[in-house]
Symmetry: C2
Subunit: 243 residues, 2 copies
DNA sequence: GGGGAGAGATGCCGC
DNA sequence: GCGGCATTTCTCCCC
C-alpha cells in the first residue's frame, strides 16, 4: 500500500495524469454538500489539478473539482486518505480509499483543439446569408447595426419594412426560447420607440406549449433544420445499416 | 500491439471498465460534427457502454457517447481503429490510435447513490415552511392546490389576499429567472381570470439588467441566502485556513 | 416518451 | 470579473 501512496503522491506532484481504480467513500463541500458511501470508482487527476471521480456507470463524474485543486495524501491505516482543496472556489473533497485496485501515472501531451460544426452559430449564419429561407422578402440588417441590440441571432426587415427579430434553436424550441424572443422584441420596441417589430422563432421543432405562447404573442414559427446537420444524421444512419 | 488489441476487445465485450492512455485522432458525427487532430488522450469505456475521451487538461470530456454505445475494433497497421456507434441516438465516433501507452480493464462494482443537500428544492422548502422570511403576512397556498399551476416554487397569499408567485434561485438571478417568474404570473392570471397576482424573485443576488426587468414588470426582489449553504462555505473556508 | 426546469451545471465570448 | 447565452448540455421529475 505504501508504495502505491508514494506513486500517487509523486504522480500528482510531478504533474502527470494519474488514473486509479479504488474502493472509496467520498464527501464534498462547496457549491453544495454531497456524500457517497463505499463503492468502486475510477479516479482521474489531471496535470492541471482537475479531479474526476467516476462510478462504473453513467456519463457524468459523480464528484469532481476543477483545475487548480491542490492535494494532500495521508496514510491512515488501513486507509489512504486523499484531501483535495480548491481554495479560490472554497471547495473541498475528501476521499477515503480502503483498496487501490490499480494505479497509473503517465505523461500525456496534447495541444490540439477540437473543431466543431453544426452549432447554432452555423445556423444563424446560414439564415443571415439567405434569410429568404425563413420568409420571402426579408433583408438582413447590417450586422454592426444589429450588434447594438445585443444577442439577437438575426435581425431583418420584411417586405413591409417591419423589423423582424429571428431567434434560432438547433433542436426543439421550448418556453424559454419564446421568452427569449419576447425579451428581444420588447427591447427593440423600447430602444427604438416603435411598435412595428415582429418575432420569428426558427427551429426544427417546437413544444406544444411553446407554440401556444408564441401565438399568444403574435410571433411566428418557421421549421428549418440546422445546416447540413440532418444530412449528417442520415449519413450516419446509412453507415449504421451497413454494420 | 496485437495483444493490446485483444485486451481492449475482451475488456469491452466482458463488460469491464476499460481505461487506456493513447495517442489518437478522433472524429464524431451525431448531434454535431467534430474532429480532433492527433494528440495524447485518456479513453474510458464503461461496462454500460459509456465512452469518455479526456484531454490532459480540463473538466469535460472532449468527446463522449452515452450508455448503449457499441464497439468495433480493427487492426489497420500501424493503427488500431476503434469505431463506436450509438444506434438509437444516430451517433458515431471514430478513434484512430497510433500508440497505446497503457491499458487496464477492471471489474468494478458500485451500487451506491450520492446524497446531495443544499439545492434549490431545499431553498423552496425552507420558504414554504416559513414564508415570513420573504415578506410578513405571507401564507402558503395548499401544496396540492399549487400543483395545478405547474412548476411554481412557492405560491402564497399576502396580507391583502393577493396571490404571490415566488421563484427561488440558489445563485445570482438573471434575465431568464425574471422571464420564468413572468410566465408563471401570467399563467396564474389567465387560468384564474384575475389580475391581482404578484411576483417575487428570491435569490442571494441579482444581475442589474434582471433587476431592471423585474421593476418594469412590477415584481419584487428579496435577498435570501440558500439554507445552510453559506454556513457550509464558511466552514470550508475556515478549514482551508487551517491547512 | 414529451415537457419543463434545475445543475456543485460548464464553457465561450463580450464588455 | 460580470453578463448573457449555447451546450453533442445532462439529469431528474411529472404527466
Amino acid at each position: 500500500m505504501q508504495s502505491k501512496i508514494f506513486q500517487l503522491q509523486s504522480g500528482i506532484t510531478s504533474k502527470k495524469l494519474v488514473v486509479c481504480a479504488v474502493s472509496c467513500e467520498v464527501t464534498y463541500q462547496g457549491k453544495a454538500e454531497t456524500s457517497l458511501a463505499k463503492g468502486d470508482r475510477l479516479i482521474i487527476i489531471k496535470p492541471d489539478g482537475t479531479i474526476l471521480i467516476h462510478q462504473p456507470e453513467g456519463n457524468n463524474p459523480i464528484n469532481y473539482m476543477k483545475s487548480g485543486t491542490e492535494y494532500t495524501i495521508k496514510w491512515e491505516p488501513p486507509n489512504v486518505v486523499l484531501n483535495a482543496v480548491h481554495i479560490k472556489n472554497s471547495e473541498k473533497l475528501n476521499i477515503i480509499m480502503d483498496q487501490i485496485y490499480f494505479l497509473n501515472s503517465s505523461n500525456l501531451t496534447d495541444a490540439e483543439k477540437i473543431k466543431l460544426s453544426g452549432n447554432e452559430k452555423d445556423m444563424s449564419n446560414m439564415i443571415y446569408a439567405n434569410p429568404s429561407i425563413v420568409e420571402h422578402g426579408l433583408i438582413p440588417v447590417n450586422r454592426e447595426e444589429q450588434t447594438k441590440y445585443g444577442f439577437i441571432d438575426v435581425l431583418c426587415t420584411d417586405k413591409n419594412n417591419y423589423l423582424v427579430v429571428i431567434e434560432c434553436k438547433r433542436f426543439k424550441a421550448d418556453l424559454a426560447a419564446v421568452s427569449q424572443l419576447r425579451r428581444y422584441v420588447e427591447k427593440i420596441k423600447t430602444s427604438k420607440g416603435i411598435t412595428s417589430v415582429r418575432g420569428i422563432l426558427v427551429a426544427p421543432a417546437i413544444t406544444s406549449n411553446a407554440m401556444a405562447m408564441l401565438k399568444d404573442w403574435g410571433f411566428n414559427f418557421i421549421l428549418i433544420e440546422p445546416p447540413k446537420f440532418k444530412e449528417h444524421i442520415k449519413k450516419t444512419q446509412t453507415k449504421i445499416d451497413e454494420y
